[in-house]
Symmetry: C2
Subunit: 371 residues, 2 copies
């Protein structure tokens, strides 16, 4: 794995040098992990003029290590900040100056104003520049190792969801169902949930990001569930909607079929070279033309990886095109206030048609199940 | 409750006016909650020259509301940012300028450099100042309503821990025990865990912030558990260490007695007017004089409230004194690499001796239980 991190750092270095900075300080946790492997909380990476260094908080030895079984790139020198309350970013900046750099690119979208000022004081000879979203852009296209982590995470989420569907649901609360799903994710080998598990019943079903309440599942309800596993740091999402009871009502079948059609249209438009806004449009216009424009969300999907919500965004104003090997969610939904709604969410990887088209990672059935 | 929020805002306004700013923008989530009540994620508070306004993200109506059963101060006008991707802070800054303010105090320790720059562009006539930790300082001393939330949270954590102790522990993994504790917290009415539940067995026991692994509980192990409940936004902590099996070894009894003595010394020194560093010293010197100086943590306790780690810090270099009605943890510990260790953590409220001295919120026994 060490080589992978070194290659990534080289790419970032080229990017910084092109921007006129000899050194870069990476502080955003997912970016540090991408470039240095699993590192202790609060660690920062210095891409130095001569050497790269991982600077970790100066906590005592009995501090908990990172994710079990994982560690940072072993070829990367590690320094400790001088004390538990010292900011590793200041150590890194001083190190950059001592290596003879005259400018340092930092992540202005992650550093607070106070921290930026402290870095300036710690290394007054350095000109501070902005690295912008350079690391985030490198992270968009995944290698097969990364996709494999997402694939395993998706399998785990499928398993957890599948087991829940075999149990009795009526009478249980949204909160209990969500907790049980999260326990099952861990049972099946996830590091943990990829994001807070969402379970919505009845009028809450289909709400994006709904936080589970004490409402109990009742006969005739829509039940929507959205969960994901984190596996080796990589996060995926799956969302499904079910009907509770033997016979879905007509309005439920109609709404489900509509959202399903929208989600399929989005999935089918995932080809390398497609504009992100066109994928969004493909899903959105199905709902739009059925009169649900107002119920629509700001986006119908987004990238996933070390964070659950990464570039690219599938939204009306999104810029840019999809590349092969970019994993995204496709997750349109409709929620009718007071009645509930439907959300269907898959994680897929963009692949060329020659390779069989988009690779579906979350394979739980999307038939409307009556449970 | 509305009056409470209004009084808090008045105190902050006095603080800002004294600092020369007519208006303030509060963005740190716990600070927004303190001054405006439970608000949607991403909301910011403008303490304006003429009016106070809560500015929320412009998400569609079916966006999940805040914590169930709670809502922001109803006397506070609410504005929406113009779109789901628009930053409410920019709307708030423009509003401040339109009210005729010439300067705006912002939270430089929370705003990123990029966001600060965007605020400057959105309201170029405003001089941006730093409000510093003004809201955090207001939050240190709690009112009885806040303490009551902490007390209920502590009861919930005590219940969850008590139930776990009645079950069979040998053979179960740290991860499963942690998940079960979190489920029980929610069962008993918590909003959720106050922080990731820590369960450490054998060589992992006593590690501060240990993340649960797949190690199983064995006969003869130390088992240390640290958990907390969030109740109406308020977070408490309890930590206990147990021995698994019928007879603790001599070294286990000795180590336990030592940490217990240190923790008691810390608790007993919690009086209004005590210097924070003296409370730390009281606990620390017990371990120190027994030769465990190297194993010590940077702090032996900290404030709790809307966040799990607030001012004051109980640490050797801490400044300031304790006031009545300040809730703090007292949590010394010793961890011996390869062997495990002991940590004991309580949440208490500083009270004058006339009122009976420090109020212990977490009442689970601190006897060394052999389970």
């Amino acid at each position: 794995m060490s080589e992978v991190y070194a290659v990534r750092r080289t790419r970032l270095r080229e990017c910084c040098n092109a921007g006129g900075s000899a050194a870069a300080l990476v502080s955003r946790p997912a970016n540090v992990r991408y470039l240095a492997g699993p590192a202790p909380e609060g660690a920062v990476l210095l891409l130095g003029r001569t050497d790269d260094v991982l600077v970790c908080p100066g906590t005592p030895d009995d501090r908990a290590p990172g994710t079990p079984g994982s560690r940072p790139d072993e070829n990367l020198p590690v320094r400790l900040a001088p004390g538990a309350n010292a900011d590793p970013a200041l150590t890194a900046a001083a190190l950059a100056a001592s290596q003879g750099a005259d400018s340092l690119a930092v992540e202005e979208h992650h550093l607070t104003v106070s921290r930026h000022r402290a870095i300036r004081s710690a290394a007054p000879t350095l000109r501070l520049a902005d690295i912008g979203g350079a690391v985030e852009q490198l992270r968009v296209v995944k290698d097969e190792e990364e996709i494999s982590c997402l694939r395993i995470g998706a399998e785990i989420a499928d398993q957890a969801l599948g087991e829940l569907l075999e149990s009795i649901l009526v009478g249980r609360t949204e909160r209990h169902l969500a907790l049980e799903l999260e326990r099952r994710l861990v049972d099946h080998g996830a590091d943990g949930p990829a994001f807070p598990t969402s379970v919505g019943t009845g009028p809450n079903a289909g709400r994006r990001g709904h936080r589970p309440t004490d409402r109990r599942v009742e006969e005739g309800d829509f039940l929507s569930v959205c969960l994901g596993a984190t596996y080796r740091g990589y996060r995926c999402a799956i969302g499904r909607t079910f009907v509770i009871g033997t016979a879905p009502a007509d309005w439920q079948i109609e709404l489900y079929d509509l959202v399903f059609a929208a989600q399929r249209a989005g999935r089918e438009s995932l080809v390398p070279g497609a504009a992100c806004r066109d994928v969004d449009h493909a899903a959105r216009q199905v709902l739009d033309s059925a009169g649900y424009a107002d119920a629509l969300q700001p986006l119908t999907g987004h990238g996933v990886g070390l964070e659950i919500d990464e570039d690219p965004q599938l939204a009306p104003s999104a810029m840019g095109k999809l590349d092969a090997c970019v994993p995204v969610t496709v997750e349109p939904g409709v929620h009718l206030p007071g009645r509930g709604g439907v959300r269907i969410d898959d994680t897929l990887v963009v692949r060329p048609e020659a390779d069989g088209g988009p690779e579906l990672l979350t394979i739980t059935t999307k038939e409307l199940l009556a449970l």
